[in-house]
């Protein structure tokens, strides 16, 4: 596919002088690899913080009755858990991967806008500092769910809502800048000969994701701003008494919110489309159809938002439209899954840790996708809506989907980043413990939901007790399993382990495997030529 100029073999001392020593290196850095590392560590820390909140939730739900926290604090936990995981863990992790990999995959020396890159990362910790510190205020932090439906988030919320709004604004600004950077980089800095239809799938999926981000993050900013003015400045966007409409909030929120869920899964599709061919030693089946399927999913994601709102009392025609549009999305998504299976078919597979995570992704994400198809059927959605069935569904697509893909990506590229093979034994422990516990955690939720347990309740009727006990145990085990990952990452960052060659995995294809391991501080200062 490619030939790489010898320039990549710099002497080490040539680029060492780019490092400012100590903390300033990280504060001032404009290097895509440094910023990628910052994003990834930040995401991992937020993953642990959000996970700790999930542990509080599961501890309270371990038994019926109120034991550990008060209902109001429970609501803060569900709210901030959601916000931290979506905006603090999954999205920054993908941005970190894009920072590290997109320039290396397209043969560019860095991101197109390096100073903005630094800025878009460094405002994030402050956004989350604001959000998390609001939990310690009198009256507590946001307690209206991560979806912050009005008027619960306006008239009926406490003053910390202002901090919530401000922190979401900062997160949005960070995401938009990150997206602009990805688009500008991909459009302008591809190596000679790399046409659009030769771009690696991860680059393609991120390219499309970045457009989604630019389209919908401003909508979210609009929604939180309207919440702010409704609460503090006497406007009535969402207040019927002043001529507004609380359901309009949900339309605006989900117009952001549905593309947002694809923002969190399209890059995952890209990652899996790299890992499966690498370990099946066979090219990706249907590259072109993968690109078109991704683009169709992205376009359709703009016309399905109201499937989150079937119970709000929409006209029946609107319900039919959103039901059918939602069902349509399963067609291109199905194409992707079929293509991955066809890629494996008659390959020569091996099952290294990245592949294990990728295979688990395909099965478990598909389970989440199929329950999504069930949720699309409006009359039945009336029964599923706002129950644990929905909780099961979106955790299958987000945890065993997005987060498993991020872990697969971390294991796939970690040796390239550090130059050392990670601790394979620990990695396998991490995989198997996560796989078993995550299913114990989320699979029974389907049954609990079908039996009628609403979501976001701190206490429940007695018939749900046995299942919730097991769910909580699965949750604790999944939480603990991530500490194995933490240990492995610390070990990897301390450069323990065997050195690896440039092409770490036998079947891996792409420019990132042409540069030495660890990838030098600067790569592709002279662009490679793609034949």
């Amino acid at each position: 596919m490619s030939s790489v100029a010898e320039e990549v073999h710099h002497d080490d001392d040539h680029h060492d002088h780019h490092h400012t020593p100590g903390i300033k290196r990280w504060l001032y850095t404009t290097n895509h690899k440094d910023i990628g590392t910052l994003y990834l560590w930040f995401a991992f820390i937020m993953f642990l913080v959000g996970g700790a909140m999930a542990m509080v939730i599961r501890a309270e739900l371990f038994q019926p009755g109120m034991q550990i926290v008060e209902p109001n604090f429970f609501n803060q936990m569900t709210t901030v858990h959601g916000l931290v995981m979506v905006f603090g863990a999954v999205m920054p992790a993908f941005t970190g991967l894009a920072n590290w990999m997109v320039p290396m995959m397209i043969g560019a020396p860095d991101m197109a806008l390096p100073r903005m890159n630094n800025w878009s990362f460094w405002i994030l910790p402050f956004a989350f500092l604001i959000l998390l510190s609001s939990l310690f205020l009198e009256g507590g932090g946001p307690n209206f769910g991560w979806t912050f439906y009005a008027p619960l988030s306006t008239t009926f919320s406490n003053d910390s809502t202002a901090l919530f709004v401000f922190s979401v604004h900062i997160m949005g600004a960070s995401s938009i800048m990150g997206a602009i950077n990805v688009i500008v980089t991909i459009m302008n800095m591809r190596a000679p000969g790399m046409t659009y239809m030769k771009m690696p799938m991860f680059v393609w999926t991120w390219f499309i994701t970045a457009f989604l981000l630019i389209a919908v993050m401003p909508v979210l900013a609009g929604a939180v701003t309207m919440v702010l003015t409704d609460k503090f400045f006497g406007t009535s966007f969402f207040n019927a008494a002043g001529g507004g409409d609380p359901v309009m909030f949900q339309h605006i929120f989900w117009f952001f919110g549905h593309p947002e869920v694809y923002i969190m899964i399209l890059p995952a599709f890209g990652i899996i489309s790299h890992i499966v061919p690498a370990f099946a030693r066979k090219p990706l089946f249907g590259y072109a159809s993968m690109v078109y399927a991704t683009a169709s999913i992205a376009l359709l994601s703009f016309i399905v938002w109201a499937h989150h709102m079937f119970t709000t009392g929409m006209p029946v025609v609107a319900e039919l439209f959103f039901m059918i549009a939602t069902m349509l999305i399963s067609v291109p998504t199905g194409v992707k899954v079929f293509n991955w299976v066809a890629t494996m078919w008659r390959g020569a597979m091996t099952f290294e840790v990245p592949m294990l995570f990728a295979l688990a992704f395909i099965v478990l994400f598909t389970i989440g996708g199929l329950s999504g198809l069930m949720l699309a059927i409006t009359p039945v959605d009336f029964q599923y809506h706002d129950t644990y069935f929905v909780v099961a569904h979106f955790h299958y697509v987000l945890v065993t989907g997005a987060i498993f893909s991020i872990m697969a990506a971390a294991y796939y590229w970690l040796p390239k980043w550090t130059g050392k093979m990670f601790d394979i034994k620990l990695a396998q422990w991490h995989f198997w413990c996560s796989l078993i516990s995550v299913n114990l955690l989320f699979f029974p939720m389907h049954f609990v939901g079908l039996a009628g347990m609403p979501r976001r309740i701190p206490d429940y009727a007695l018939q749900f007790a046995d299942f919730n006990k097991w769910i909580s145990l699965g949750g604790f085990a999944f939480g603990l399993s991530q500490l194995i990952f933490l240990a492995l990452l610390i070990k990897a960052c301390r450069k323990k382990g065997d050195s690896v060659p440039a092409r770490v995995w036998e079947g891996a294809e792409g420019l990132e495997w042409e540069v030495p391991s660890p990838a030098p501080y600067h790569t592709f200062e002279t662009p490679p030529v793609i034949k």
Binding site: Q63, T155, M344, A348, Q383
Partner: protein
Amino acid sequence: MSRGVYKWATLLFSLLSTSVFAEGKSMPLNLTKGASDISAQVYDLHMIIFIICAVIGVVVFGAMFVSMLLHRKSRGVTPANFHESTTVEIIWTIIPFIILIGVAIPAANTLIAMEDPSEAEVSIVVTGSQWKWHYKYMDNDVEYYSLLATQQEQIYNKFEKGENYLLEVDRPLVIPTGKKVRFLITSDDVIHSWWVPAFAVKKDANPGFINEAWTNVNEPGVYRGQCAELCGKDHGFMPIVVIAKDPADYQIWVDEQQAIQLAAKEEEQKLLAMNMEMDELMSVGEKVYTSSCAACHQGSGEGLPGIFPALKGSPIALGDVSKHIDVVVSGVSGTAMQAFGKQLSLKELAAVITYERNAWGNSTGDTVQAKDVNAIVKGQ
């Protein structure tokens, strides 16, 4: 060391094996057919789409596992190099498409039937507020609030939990069987959602707007549900209980309720001429406070700082009586403070205001009488 492990293992095992409830009520693992024709149709749709999903899952994962078994490098296979086939791509785009059309048609039919509340024989206005339901029968003079009946002591693990823990209310909704019953659903404050799984009815209660839903229940019985939309602190504590009676029993119940509510109104008029003693006001007031006020302002009167204001030592509870009455009767717009004027009787209002002015060291010594409250209500 090993003894410690053993101790923990025993503890864990005993935690897992003890069933927390006495009756051993088991949880269904699936949706149920419910109590109406529509809910049975919804159940059928659920099973159709579930079976389709299961079959797709078996085929896809089956192919994947076969491939993982056969096409592994350790078996010495050489990888093929095929990576494109327009025919295959078209096939697996078209087939799911056809399956989806097959599901969409029956789903659309059921949906259209569910969303047609016309020609209802009984209409009931269902109003959610933090954290209770209000039912008003359109065709009769019957209306009342329905509150969680489970004791706080059960919730906080001081008493043993009863069979219908968190799914029991003081005054259930009563509807007739075999008649189309229409629900007009709205809210006084935030968005709630009225959900009875056995009817396959879940409809949001939006403040300022009215949604419609309906059911036609086949069998008499008790049907339980819960609020399904996060509505604040006690979202988990506003259940729904519906009793379906056959039409004759239903009519008896309605007549009875009408008589009771009429008598209560007459009683209220008499009260206007009487004065109640402090002791009586305080004891009635404490009961009313516990059921209507304590969820926010707390039993201690201290509220939740930053969310719900304290009444203990508050300027309103210690200040001008008529201002205090006004706040309780009309609520405070732009806040979570509800208007209790329509929720409580004059006697209850008088008692609870007296209680708030004299409990927790708020020793104003004021007694408030029904006629004082009435003066404020009428003055508006």
